[in-house]
């Protein structure tokens, strides 16, 4: 469909037979318009009149139909426009701000970010060092920043262990976004296996933690203070990471 080049204009066998005849089948005017609408709509690129003519009954006055259609859409929110010698639907110029305004374009989460997020979800409360241990690679600060920016990860507290590392956990927005009622809804080992996500040989000591329930700190966590955050440089004002 996206290919509108002439080389794709392979006529059907019965076309050949009907060569020279006025039309192999007939469509009412409205059906011609409907077909054009559908073809232009579904195409990923502007569509030539020749492309349309090939798909319409022989003898259809495509040019005329296009102008009728263009007139029909002229007052609508979407216009049928001629772009060079091809046709495409475009948002009406006076409304284009509606589309652009929202261009906080959605970013795909990177694989690293997904991994870190998943580890935080399953293993929380978890420290950065623990995440790195599970992943086997260092986590760039940018990755955590992205997850914080998305609002899915938060600082929970500080582990009562040497160095008092900060513990990380997920947020309510995280549950909302991923359609989970509670953390315990995350599938466990058997369920991941059953869904085919874990496959092959799994070592006997392999386990998947069941995430803790609430937001309450565990006994080996201390609450986190504003001071802590600043001290740790976690609240760096500039976003010059990544």
């Amino acid at each position: 469909m996206q290919a509108v080049d002439d080389e794709f204009l392979t006529p059907e066998p019965d076309d050949e037979a009907g060569e020279g005849e006025p039309a192999r089948f007939t469509l009412s005017d409205i059906d011609i318009q409907r077909t054009i609408e559908a073809l232009v709509f579904a195409s990923s690129e502007p569509v030539s009149e020749a492309y349309l003519a090939d798909r319409l009954p022989r003898g259809t006055d495509v040019a005329a139909a296009m102008h009728q259609l263009a007139a029909f859409y002229a007052g609508r929110g979407v216009n049928l426009l001629r772009v060079e010698d091809r046709w495409a639907f475009r948002t009406a110029a006076d409304l284009s701000f509606m589309i652009r305004r929202d261009e906080t374009e959605v970013k795909k989460l990177s694989r690293a970010a997904l991994e870190v997020l998943a580890i935080i979800a399953y293993h929380q409360p978890v420290t950065r060092a623990e995440i790195e241990e599970i992943r086997g690679v260092q986590t760039s600060k940018g990755t955590l920043d992205v997850l914080m920016e998305a609002g899915w990860v938060r600082f929970r507290g500080r582990r009562r262990s040497p160095g008092r590392p900060v513990t990380l956990g997920t947020t309510i927005s995280f549950l909302d976004h991923f359609g989970l009622e509670e953390l315990r809804d995350l599938p466990g080992l058997e369920e991941l296996k059953g869904a085919g996500l874990l496959s092959g040989r799994i070592p006997p000591n392999f386990n998947i933690p069941i995430p803790s329930l609430g937001d309450d700190l565990t006994e080996d966590e201390d609450p986190i203070t504003q001071l802590d955050l600043e001290e740790l440089g976690l609240l760096a004002p500039s976003g010059g990471d990544e």
Binding site: S44, A150, H177
Partner: protein, 284 residues
């Protein structure tokens, strides 16, 4: 009770025996089991040969056909998945129940007729789902019959997040990662051992529908390949102890070396009810 699986061939068995003999003596015949999606699927195929509504099939005849099929398959050394053998054991039990006159019926288990009804129900339900699947796949589908905007201008966010990720993305990332980290070089050759989990599943499946005191072994072992009998027995016994501990199973043995009788634990029906309620409330 209900352990009468004596080989005293009823005339019906005789009839099948003949067919059986032919199947075995004629080397040109092999059994193709690969085309089936499990024992219920096979039963559904067999039921269709009866050419009647599923609610009116002769379950007994169906059981006979199935057992014949399994026997033939085993005689020509076709390796059958455990699912098929479990179904065979269950049907053998059902058959014996159906053939035994009603008078020995206790209160603590479904009658052969009830078990037959359950089987017919399951077949009917599976067939219904098959039909729905066909209807679904033949609907006007996006990308085949219906098309979306070919040149979208933006993707509006349904959720308010600026980041896009689905639960599936998250879980597969996690599973992949954990698996990657868990790679071990040790490869243990797979021996045919019935794992505890398998045995557990098997017992729960069968007891779930029998519910009466049964010497399960008699039915089960009959359909196990000879080389698997020991492991199957061991695992089933271990699994049964576990199930007893959980109250899902009751066991009885009248004396040393006597058959071990099992039945579903009496706590189970409560759990089933709970599940149903949950199902209803969530479905509405």
């Amino acid at each position: 009770m209900a352990t009468d699986t004596s080989k005293s061939a009823t005339p019906m068995e005789k009839l099948w025996q003949d067919a059986d003999d032919r199947a075995v003596t004629d080397p040109a015949l092999v059994i193709d089991v690969s085309g089936f999606e499990g024992p219920l699927d096979l039963l559904l195929h067999l039921a269709r040969t009866q050419k009647v509504d599923l609610q009116r099939i002769s379950v007994l005849a169906l059981a006979e056909q199935y057992l014949l099929f399994i026997d033939s398959a085993r005689k020509v050394r076709i390796e059958l998945a455990a699912d098929y053998l479990v179904m065979a054991a269950w049907l053998a039990f059902l058959k014996s129940k159906l053939l035994i006159p009603q008078q020995v019926r206790g209160d603590d288990g479904p009658s052969g007729e009830e078990m037959a009804a359950i089987l017919a129900f399951r077949l009917k339900r599976l067939e219904a789902m098959r039909e729905q699947a066909t209807m679904l796949v033949n609907r006007n589908r996006i990308g085949r019959d219906i098309f979306v905007r070919g040149a979208p201008e933006h993707i509006p966010q349904s959720s308010q997040s600026a980041f896009d990720a689905s639960l599936y993305d998250l879980l597969s990332a996690y599973a992949n990662l954990r698996q990657r980290q868990a790679i071990t070089q040790v490869t243990i050759e797979r021996r045919k051992v019935w794992s505890l989990v398998e045995a557990r599943q098997l017992l729960t499946d069968m007891l779930g529908e029998i519910g009466d005191w049964t010497a399960l072994q008699d039915y089960l072992l009959q359909y196990m390949p000879a080389e698997e009998r020991v492991t199957a027995t061991a695992s089933a016994f271990a699994a049964s102890l576990e199930l007893v501990r959980e109250g899902k199973l009751e066991m009885r043995q009248d004396g040393a070396f006597q058959p071990i009788y099992m039945r579903q634990g009496q706590k189970r029906p409560v759990a089933v009810k709970l599940t149903e309620q949950e199902n209803d409330s969530a479905g509405g």
